[in-house]
Symmetry: C2
Subunit: 331 residues, 2 copies
């Protein structure tokens, strides 16, 4: 347990709200994690239940750190979008049963401290900038292939939000006009080719026709059971049809990133999320190669493509960073 001067309000809570779990961490002013907690978020349980669980996760992390709420200076939350940054409202999070829920103010009232709320991908990118693989870069593009393909931008140490607060939405960049149907209703979005869901969709098909035995054994033909670990095991088993699907998805991700490199000219691209973690260096190298093939040489020169370092704690670090900026601006 952390035995600091708890009464001086020098702990910052970071919360990462995922589709199935809530991760909380307590950070000191110099960025050390002194307490953690992880609670389940039941699907479809609704705004208040989820928010109360988030508060409980903070309390549990405080207890583990040997501290009380009195030590808390504020909380930062990374949450799935779409959310309204200015009002702190979760517009729509179907998995959690949230619609137009004022998450920021609800948690602030329960915890009795200021709360900062932003989307999990911005916060993940920002966390990697503050404490992970993107430290020291001036123009960071974060890309997180998962259920969709999330993205975030950090410019000169600040999250770049653009006019509508939506900047960095790489998942729905169209790379194949008229192509594969995407969950958003458009055709040809990057997500429809390069998300874990897009890979899973193809692998289930292969499983059904006997060309993906590892997937078949682990997940049958249930789309949602094709987790990143299953995909990685099938690749490790060198199942040719599976490798082809993953190679193609890496190539598309590289094309999408090339588009971003041309428009935004980052110095670093950080790839994060469970899929990247499980697939590892070979996948990252494939994505980088495709990016270099498809971006303008002048834009791609010197750009590093790296795997995230903080795993699922990136968003927690970013959210605390956002919180601290907010507090500094108010002071």
């Amino acid at each position: 347990p952390w035995l600091g001067r708890a009464m001086e309000r020098e702990l910052y809570a970071g919360l990462d709200l995922g589709g199935t779990k809530i991760a909380a961490a307590l950070l000191t002013g110099d960025g050390r994690v002194v307490g953690r907690a992880r609670l389940g978020s039941r699907a479809g349980s609704g705004g208040e239940v989820v928010a109360d669980t988030m508060v409980a996760a903070v309390d549990e992390a405080l207890q583990r750190a040997g501290a009380t709420r009195a030590a808390l200076r504020g909380a930062g939350i990374g949450a799935p979008g779409p959310l309204d940054f200015d009002s702190g409202v979760i517009v729509f999070a179907p998995n959690l049963g949230m619609r137009d829920f004022p998450l920021r103010d609800y948690v602030a009232e329960r915890l009795g401290v200021p709360v900062f709320l932003d989307n999990d991908v911005n916060m993940g990118t920002y966390g990697e900038y503050l404490a992970g693989a993107a430290r020291g870069s001036r123009y960071v593009l974060g890309v997180f292939p998962g259920t969709g393909v999330g993205g975030g931008l950090v410019v000169n140490g600040e999250v770049f939000r653009g006019a509508n607060g939506t900047a960095g939405e790489v998942g729905h960049i169209i790379v194949q006009q008229g192509g594969t149907l995407c969950g958003c209703g458009q055709r040809g979005c990057l997500e429809a080719y390069a998300s874990r869901s897009a890979i899973a969709r193809d692998l289930v098909m292969l499983a059904a026709i006997g060309q993906a035995p590892t997937v078949r054994a682990a997940a049958g033909t249930r789309l949602k059971a094709v987790k990143s670990g299953v995909i990685a095991r099938a690749v490790a088993a060198k199942e040719p049809a599976v490798c082809e699907v993953v190679d193609r998805s890496a190539r598309f991700l590289g094309i999408g990133i090339a588009n971003c490199v041309n428009l935004f000219s980052p110095d670093l691209v950080v790839l994060g999320g469970g899929l990247v973690e499980k697939l590892g260096g070979r996948y990252v190298a494939q994505v980088e190669r495709a990016m270099r093939t498809h971006a303008l040489a002048a834009a791609a020169a010197g750009v590093r493509v790296v795997a995230a370092e903080l795993g699922d704690e990136a968003a927690v670090h970013g959210a605390v960073g956002g919180l601290r900026e907010m507090l500094a601006e108010r002071a």
Copy 2:
């Protein structure tokens, strides 16, 4: 002629270096144009000849303003890329016969004043921000379909350059993976669908098979003779096959812009260049409609798509703006 206090060095020269012409303008401190000149730039004549012609254009504009070089505070140049912003060197401008030519320092030495050099599309976007259709916008995307499709970004009143100085390169964003061959050697770039050259390529084909009589009469089947004015006349004549080609190109431009809207979240998109000028409001509306269809609703909300206002003087205004920032930073 301008009868100001010429000895006080309060005139700024703006230069727009095009493939076939050099435009010079003299601006006062409050942005009024007090002298203009326009000289031809002979194809392939080489760096020194072109640069000397630029100097002559400034002298001619000075003369028309009733002023001398003593009135000049500096010069800003918008030039076709690729160029190296930091060193002021034109890397490669095949039309002008320039390769690795130190244009900035050469002109500075001849004119005896500080010179600022950036690419014409950045400067065009910046000019529209300073004095044209993008005044007052915080996140501006400029898109200029022409020989290629140029783009520029202005954020909080400054040109956004990114890590490699190449930000805003929208022309080679891939919208159709594996699609039509582009001049850059890639397939499926926005330029291969939405530039004036791409339209001309299709119209020449139609002219050859008798489906574009206006084009046939004006240009035969010579690609380079299919100028913006010819395209606009064929559209005005409602030649169905021509309209189909132009509609398709507007739709692709909208898709490319949608990708930029998703990544960058501008509040304003300004469309400029000769093609936009000649095709007018109908074309701009088509591009806007395609952008709205293909961008995320949250990213496209409130985004205005407008035609440029300054015509071929936008880059001149932007270059003077860049010069003045440079002088202010030095002071």
